[in-house]
């Protein structure tokens, strides 16, 4: 599974980081990327509204039980918790897959990868990669005192570390 690119969106759905790691996708203008990010942000929210009827009545109970089993007090060691219980988390097309991870603070990490392989394997792989990116983000972006929250990310160290992680030489 090759990783094509990574996008990071802030709470409002604005694109704050975009990077390509391997060739395979078209290069778009900066404006196009912004529109793309906004679209994904919107579809992510819509996806939670179109849950099938038979799931909807149970959603309160299901949500509750999910909360209980996933609570930190039950799984104290780091768990792949994603604040994405009903929103979109995966898109599959002929040429690429998109994995979404949303943190508790509303930041979305979007990974575009190649489509091959067994789906469930790829899902856990992608989730692990997204968690690692989140850790790098919290280190090199959040702890940079000159970085303004919700603004585009221009931190060289973050670029360096993510490139090291996603594009092994």
């Amino acid at each position: 599974m090759t990783i094509y690119s990574l996008y990071i969106l802030n709470k409002a759905g604005g694109l704050i980081y975009q990077q390509d790691y391997n060739p395979g996708l078209l290069k778009l203008s900066a404006n196009d990327y912004l529109v793309l990010a906004g679209t994904i942000h919107g579809v992510h929210a819509i996806a939670s509204k179109i849950t099938p009827f038979s799931l909807r009545d149970d959603s309160a109970a299901a949500g509750q039980s999910l909360l209980n089993t996933n609570s930190f007090l039950n799984h104290p060691l780091p768990v792949n918790y994603t604040s994405n219980k009903t929103g979109l988390n995966f898109i599959q097309t002929d040429f690429f897959n998109i994995y979404l991870f949303q943190s508790l603070t509303g930041i979305k990490f979007i990974l575009v990868t190649s489509p091959n392989g067994v789906l469930s394997n790829n899902l856990t792989n992608a989730e692990l990669i997204l968690r690692k990116i989140y850790i790098i983000f919290s280190d090199y972006v959040m702890k940079n005192p000159f970085y303004n929250l919700e603004m585009p990310i221009r931190c060289e160290l973050f670029d360096l570390k993510t490139t090291q992680l996603l594009k092994p030489v």
């Binding site: 778009l28 849950t51 219980k85 009903t86 898109i91 097309t93 040429f95 690429f96 789906l119």
Partner: protein
């Protein structure tokens, strides 16, 4: 477990409303859950995702080895999208018909089933039916009972296996 099936025609009009198919209970309800809002949301989401898919790969050239002089521009089609609670499988024909199947997230590939619904049921009972319209008016739904029954039983047979 399969939750519902939607069919949109090329003008974004719902042809068939979702059937809440619960295989355990047996039998679905057709055209009853007339949730227009849900349909609009679903269509909107699909439309946006299709755009994303084609925007990111619209120039991908696939050279067909059998006809070496031609460059085929293969369009990138959306296959499915998923949340933690459900997965939506999407199949689109060149004529603009869109088939969407909502299932639980563990079911991974329904493309061939959607294709079967299209070729075996839609083409047979709706397209070939001289009395059913090709361009549906807004609010008009597929009324052909044969279509509805055969699709029902097909989907139920899928859910049981």
């Amino acid at each position: 477990m399969i939750y519902s099936l939607w069919i949109f025609d090329r003008h974004c009009i719902i042809q068939q409303d979702p059937k809440a198919a619960r295989p355990l209970v047996g039998g679905g309800t057709v055209n009853l859950n007339n949730d227009i809002d849900s349909a609009k949301l679903l269509f909107g989401a699909l439309f946006s995702l299709r755009n994303i898919a084609s925007k990111l790969t619209s120039n991908v050239n696939i050279i067909d080895n059998t006809s070496s002089d031609l460059d085929f521009q293969k369009q990138n089609y959306l296959r499915s999208f998923a949340t933690q609670n459900y997965r939506a499988h999407y199949f689109e024909t060149l004529s603009g018909l869109k088939f969407v199947l909502l299932t639980d997230p563990s079911i991974q590939d329904m493309q061939k089933h959607l294709h079967e619904i299209y070729t075996n049921f839609y083409v047979e009972y709706v397209a070939k039916n001289a009395l059913s319209p090709v361009d549906f008016k807004p609010g008009e739904l597929i009324g052909s009972e044969k279509f509805i029954n055969s699709v029902d039983s097909y989907i139920l047979s899928l859910s049981v296996t």
